[in-house]
């Protein structure tokens, strides 16, 4: 799949929840985070979201998010999100919601965004083993 325009990312954020206001369609990103503390691993994150705002999205594009554990660069998941019939004259917003996502070990994890297999952007979160009352 090819495209006339290659999308550009204006923002890519990881958060607890993405809320859309009825009527205006304004978005609220609740609980933007970069670090996760857990007393044990593996850990299941019940819910989180990835918000992406892009320009130059035209026609039909298959977005893909690769979730990668950075220390050994293993692939945890690959999420494909095809978007159809986009108007390039206005920005595109994409919300990906994940439930019960299991993280095997502490460390840095990356969400790598591709459009039609072209690398665009990344967001990183840091999973830390953390006991209650720890420094």
């Amino acid at each position: 799949m090819s495209f006339e325009l290659i999308p550009s990312v204006l923002a890519m954020l990881v958060c607890d929840q993405i809320i859309t206001e009825q009527g205006t369609n304004k978005k609220s990103l609740i609980g933007i985070f970069q670090r996760v503390h857990s007393p044990m691993f593996p850990v299941v994150i019940p819910r989180f979201g990835i918000y992406v705002k892009l320009v130059d999205v035209e026609g039909t594009i298959e977005f893909k998010v690769r979730i990668v554990k950075l220390d050994d660069e293993t692939l945890l998941a690959e999420l494909a999100a095809p978007i159809k019939d986009q108007d390039p004259s206005r920005p595109t917003e994409l919300a990906i919601s994940l439930q019960n996502f299991q993280i095997p070990q502490p460390g840095k994890y990356e969400f790598q965004l591709y459009a039609n297999d072209v690398y665009l952007h990344r967001a990183t979160i840091d999973l830390v083993e953390w006991q209650a009352g720890g420094e």
Partner: protein, 156 residues
């Protein structure tokens, strides 16, 4: 047993700020709101999901390292990538190296993405240097031609 993972996605409609005095058919002006307007969380999407998300969760998954990656992410408001740039990916002395052999430009880092970002900085520098140089040596002219095929000015 851990609950099974799941994922959904939405293509969102751009938001609208309604200024004081604006009166839509079924809404009061936002300045008169005494409480938060109705909200939809991503958990319960009001917009139809465009298509099913293909979720391939793999525990203890395969290496994410690629032999080749297409680059399309210039961080310059005046420039954009017009045609994806093919990068070869290799490992050298514990670091990831990405290289575009056509113009002899490369970047390195601890991970694939950090190597790509290092490459992107070098590519912008290369683009500026060959764009500004006059007269060009033959090799620089060749590089400028290749860059012009892949990088374009963003319309104002």
């Amino acid at each position: 047993m851990a609950p099974s993972a799941a994922a959904t996605y939405q293509s969102l409609v751009p938001g609208l700020l309604e200024l004081e005095g604006f009166q839509s058919n079924n809404r009061r002006p936002s300045s008169e709101f005494r409480e938060l307007p109705a909200q939809n969380s991503a958990r319960e999407p009001s917009r139809p999901i465009v298509a099913e998300l293909r979720l391939g969760l793999r525990e203890g998954g395969p290496p994410a390292r690629l032999d080749r990656v297409l680059f399309g992410a210039l961080k310059d408001p005046r420039l954009r990538v017009a045609k994806p740039i093919p990068l070869d990916v290799s490992r050298h002395q514990g670091k990831t190296v990405v290289s575009w052999k056509d113009v002899n430009e490369s970047g390195s880092g601890e991970t694939l993405c950090s190597a790509i970002e290092d490459f992107e900085i070098g590519l912008r520098s290369l683009y500026r240097s060959v764009s500004a140089a006059e007269p060009l040596r033959p090799d620089s002219a060749r590089i400028r031609q290749i860059l012009a095929e892949h990088i374009a000015f963003r319309p104002a």
